[in-house]
């Protein structure tokens, strides 16, 4: 008898539950009050901006008058949503390693840097989807992290399949 890899579809055929098979699918959401971001900007100024946002994020936020707090609120929500999705709240991360990139067509996506990128990769998260919105005094963001089930998880699932004796 020889060992072979166990792809996801094969696990599904073997009645592994969707929850087990797609354990690398994670969602995070965060909601931020724009006026509170405005208050933080007034209270802490550059310390607040430079601690949380990349240079490009600040350039974009400041490019249109009166949009700064709203844009930074949405970006802060996006960073927090990713931290929730990947469950990094007890890891300790630099918010600037989570960057919202504004594309020429208007869409936004997340780009991870440094330690956060390494953590996401080690967790098997290969792609993250971002949606941001704002209305009135609130800005929110949803992040969905998509990933191949980590190799370690594949091994665990493979053992479960063997244990229940499905052939």
């Amino acid at each position: 008898m020889h060992q072979q890899s166990v792809p996801i579809l094969d696990l599904l055929r073997r009645r592994v539950t969707l929850e087990q098979a797609f354990s690398g699918l994670c969602v995070g959401f965060d909601l931020v009050q724009i006026s509170q971001i405005e208050a933080s900007l007034q209270a802490f100024g550059d310390a607040f901006k430079k601690r949380l946002f990349t240079q490009d994020e600040l350039i974009y936020a400041n490019c249109d008058e009166g949009q700064c707090a709203q844009r930074l609120a949405a970006r802060f929500a996006a960073k927090e949503a990713l931290i929730k999705a990947l469950q990094l709240s007890e890891v300790g991360v630099d918010w600037r390693n989570i960057e919202v990139i504004k594309q020429p067509d208007g869409d936004c996506h997340l780009q991870l840097h440094g330690g956060v990128a390494e953590l996401a990769l080690s967790m098997g998260a290969m792609q993250w989807l971002l949606s941001m919105s704002h209305d009135g005094d609130y800005a929110g963001a949803v992040v969905m992290a998509l990933g191949f089930t980590p190799h370690r998880k594949i091994i665990e699932l493979s053992k479960k399949v063997k244990n229940v004796g499905i052939h």
Binding site: Q36, A43, L52, S89, E90
Partner: protein
């Protein structure tokens, strides 16, 4: 010394924590997040603490649990103050 640190932390939380109850009713172990502090408010608290104590929170201190109670904040401030 410890009492002085605690009082300063309480002042910061009163001004920036956005807590849903008076700081006088919060004891050392009370969960600040359950008392209304948001993730954004915890950033404000962190920045205010850095100013008050002349310290800087490194990345590995930027955890939810570090800002979870007055006691955990006091331990972090004491540790950072000792090395600064």
């Amino acid at each position: 010394m410890l009492e002085s640190i605690e009082l300063k932390i309480r002042d910061v939380l009163r001004d920036h924590g956005r807590l849903n109850q008076d700081i006088e009713h919060i004891d050392m172990q009370t969960d600040l997040y359950k008392s209304g502090m948001t993730s954004h408010a915890s950033v404000n608290v962190m920045l205010a603490l850095e100013g008050v104590f002349d310290i800087e929170f490194p990345d590995n201190f930027l955890k939810r649990s570090v800002f979870g109670s007055i006691d955990s904040i006091r331990r972090a401030v004491t540790e950072l103050h000792a090395v600064s």
